[in-house]
Amino acid sequence: MAGLRVDETRCIGCTRCVRACATGGIEVKDRLARPTDACVFCGACIDACPVDAISIERKEAGADLVAYRDIWVFVQADEHDDVLPVAFELLGRARALAAQRGCAVVALLPQGPGSAGSHERELIARGADRVLTVHDERMVPLDAEVCARWVCDLAQRLKPEIILYGATAFGRELAPMVAVRLETGLTADCTRLEIDGATGLLQQTRPAFGGNLMATIECPARRPQMATVRPGVFAGDACPRSSVSSDAAAKDQVVEYPLDASVRSRVRVLATEPAQQGASIAQAKRLVVVGRGIGSKKQLPLMQRLADALDAELGCTRPLVEAGWLEYPHQVGQTGVSVAPELLISIGVSGAIQHLAGIGGAKTIIAINEDAQAPIFGIAHYKAVGDAIEIVDNLVRELEDAVARS
């Protein structure tokens, strides 16, 4: 029977597991921990146990894992038929994993009938051994369900060991649709991927609890193993193949794989609104990012003044959007906009992982925060500990005076 197991020879009855448990799922009696009916197998007690006495035992299904091989990367093109950069980032990472595993990297490229046909060559140049593609009008615009049917069909026939998707809006809708049809595991929004070269087991690390906790997840008994990966996490410029292959060679490596004729979209896009402000934050050269530590909505005008004085854009953390202080397009972080400015001034931001994941591309980070222990200081290049408002107040004055003098 699957369940939480306590190694009686190791347990010292310290009750740390009891304190770590949010559901009352474990108790200590006679100096021995034992699970209760309220256990939800969240694993908090395992992490809390100082003597490694707790484990979760599972009944492993004996699937035929050996039949599955290769690493697939789903390639998404945008409405202008340009391949999104995350595909190249994933190809780069997949190459490294494939080298350890000794397998091939395959790109999945759904296209419209009129697509120019240059993507295949570029994908091969950037790391794919083969490209599986389809030219079909039902793939424009991309429809998650239609696409999922195509990917599932391919996966059932060709049995990949791993499928990676960019964690774009589309990728995060497509991947679960594939996962549920293939009845396999899927890990969302990974920030790290490692592989066991011998077994092919993929270690997928992702933030949980709003980014306050990192979890490493495995899918031991089902295939394919699937993960979506946040754009920008892996370097996209690594080009492990020394030269662009010839057209002739490329031709052999590209296989057209048709979409089942019965597949029909059930969703129609009637109109698309032009993208708004968000873009300006994503592309800003200078950015002021404010967090809950500024204390009050009343401080926003001061923050805007700082942004103005620096000719910067204003961004914020998730709690501020949730509190209604600023609109969603200002939100910087994993669930908001990923940014890569030359200069980022972070004010009153504690630095939850989901936020830090979104500012990793910043060249210089200056953090101002009252709490010297705030995680933001862990990635800041310059750190000012102190009353954020007081420091910014002075900073604005200095900057504005400097402008007045010049």
């Binding site: 909505k297 926003l300 509190a323 209604g324 202080w325 600023l326 609109e327």
Partner: protein
């Protein structure tokens, strides 16, 4: 000019320069002037500063967090004694009955104290053993709160005591007064008066006090009767009164509060907030009266009139900062908000059933209500309540840009229970006669509404001021108070005379001069400076004919 740039203890009296501009105004948005400023951190430093200024009779204005709405902290020349750096909790006490008391410096911010109490964690540097022991006991005790709840949680406790602040929960918990158990008051001479509830009482209307320096103060208390309603107008007096009550609500005119002992209460087990919407104001008033009779657990009964809801609706539509605000129902003409503090969920449900039934009887409806039971919903309602004054301030600021003469005009009057309908009728009739725009909200459980005139021009501002004077007379006739919670400060002085008459005002001024013979402290608060100076010159109490300060 006195003692500028000399050391007073370690609190330097420094010339007031441009960088101190912030210290010339408070939330009332009126501006003053001063020559010097100090930021003491201990009682010893307060005493040193006051001693240094006493000889020359320099005026001293005491400041806390400057969140006051009556300009009590706006200086009228002389020195600004700013207590914002006296922000330490000094200790804690648990009495034999298990009640907890917190000993604080006057500059401690209410929201900080709340945070500390919630986390049961204090900066305990310098605490004595008894305090540390009480804190350890607190760790296992039910959560304790300080119940006084002015809307502005960034107020400081010294300021709250000085103007006897109250706010929404004073319906159940009363104003600041009953939660102050002891205080220390530094007099203008630098001498200290230590007062503890129950220890120094008046004999009839005569009070004899002895300072720590050994000086005896003989205080002849004024003869007036206090109104039978919520009140923060003028000195609190009654026969055989407790001396500490004279200081609470004295608007910084008697001395400088250097330390407070606050009585804490256990946090209620269940707090539910209910907003009840009505289509007719009269029904809301009837419901309020019924709530007072029938609800046993109401901690606050608040009101928002139609105009207030409209300002909110507009602000919600126009400003990002308010977009997450819950939207009042389209057909709601006004809202009565009730906070229920109960010992259990069952008790709360029973109370809710009573509230539903009385609403139906009053012409409201159990359907047209919002019940906030979760933290998230309660936050939404708190935001809703706080957004009302904030929205009105933003509206006024907008109009001020067009005409700088326009400023906020908010009333703070309360009447006895049986006068609620009458006073509302007075407000409605006179506002409509004057053709003014107004929004009203506030503590209807105490018949205490803030009626805010929203002037569109300087002429309307003047008309509004006139209207307030008229209301002050009418409210006095009803046995009410002209300032129920904001204090009188400098802005409501004229109303004080309307309420008590010139004679009583002179009696109050004489009390002040016993504590502060040179009339240095809080000049312009409560009394016209001329009145004070003429009394002094008449030599009624002070043989010294030398003129005061700056």
């Amino acid at each position: 000019m006195a003692a500028i740039d000399k050391h007073a203890g370690s609190a330097r009296i420094v010339p007031l320069t441009r960088e101190h501009d912030d210290y010339l105004h408070d939330e009332s948005r009126s501006h003053g002037e001063a020559e010097s400023i100090s930021f003491p951190t201990t009682e010893g430093e307060i005493r040193a500063v006051l001693r240094a200024l006493h000889a020359a009779g320099t005026p001293v204005t005491v400041q806390g967090a400057r969140t006051g709405l009556a300009a009590g902290a706006v200086p009228h020349g002389g020195h600004v004694l700013n207590l914002s750096r006296m922000n330490r909790v000094l200790g804690m006490r648990r009495d034999d009955a298990g009640a907890y008391f917190a000993r604080v410096q006057p500059g401690v911010i209410l929201s900080e104290l709340r945070k500390n109490l919630h986390a049961r964690s204090f900066a305990t540097e310098g605490w004595d053993d008894a305090s540390l022991q009480a804190l350890r006991a607190l760790a296992d005790a039910p959560e304790q709160i300080f119940p006084t709840d002015p809307t502005e949680a960034s107020a400081c406790l010294g300021g709250m005591a000085a103007c006897n602040a109250s706010g929404a929960r004073s319906y159940a918990h009363g104003a600041m007064r009953q939660h102050v158990n002891a205080l220390r008051l530094v007099l203008a001479t630098g001498d200290v008066l230590a007062l503890r509830r129950g220890e120094q009482r008046a004999c009839g209307r005569h009070l004899t006090l002895v300072t720590e320096g050994g000086t005896t103060l003989e205080v002849e208390l004024p003869a007036y009767e206090m109104p039978a309603c919520k009140n923060a107008s003028g000195y609190f007096v009654e026969d055989d009164m407790d001396a500490i009550d004279l200081v609470i609500g004295s608007d910084g005119t008697l001395g400088v509060i250097s330390e407070l002992e606050l009585a804490l209460v256990p946090a209620p087990a269940v707090t539910w907030d209910v907003s009840c919407f009505f289509t007719v104001e009269h029904d809301a008033l009837d419901a309020t009266v019924a709530m007072r009779h029938e609800l046993g657990c109401a901690a606050a009964i608040e009101y928002f009139d139609g105009a207030a809801l409209d300002v909110l609706r507009r602000q919600r539509a126009e400003s990002t900062a308010f977009s997450s605000l819950v939207e009042p129902p389209a057909d709601a003409a006004c809202c009565v908000y009730v906070e229920l503090q109960c010992a259990s969920e069952d008790e709360a449900l029973a109370e809710l059933a009573r509230l539903g039934a009385l609403l139906e009887r009053a012409g409201g409806s159990a359907e047209h209500t919002w019940v906030a039971r979760t933290e998230l919903d309660r936050e939404a309602l708190t935001f809703f309540r706080h957004a009302v004054p904030e929205s009105v301030n933003m509206l006024i600021d907008e109009r001020r840009r067009i005409d700088p003469a326009i400023t906020k005009l908010g009333s703070d009057m309360a009447v006895p229970n049986e006068r609620l309908h009458e006073v509302m009728d007075l407000y409605r009739t006179t506002i409509s006669e004057a053709g003014l725009e107004a929004a009203a909200w506030g503590h209807i459980g105490n018949n205490h509404l803030h009626v805010n005139i929203l002037p569109r021009s300087a002429a309307e501002y003047a008309a509004g001021k006139e209207l307030f004077a008229r209301w002050a007379r009418a409210v006095t006739d009803m046995g009410g108070a002209v300032s129920a919670e904001h204090g009188v400060g400098k802005l409501k002085r004229d109303f004080l005379e309307i309420m008590y008459g010139y004679q009583a005002l002179a009696e109050m001024a004489r009390v002040k001069l016993v504590f502060d013979p040179r009339g240095q402290l809080g000049r312009g608060n409560l009394f016209d400076e001329e009145l004070l100076d003429s009394l002094r010159q008449a030599g009624a109490l002070d043989g010294d004919a030398e003129k005061g300060g700056a």
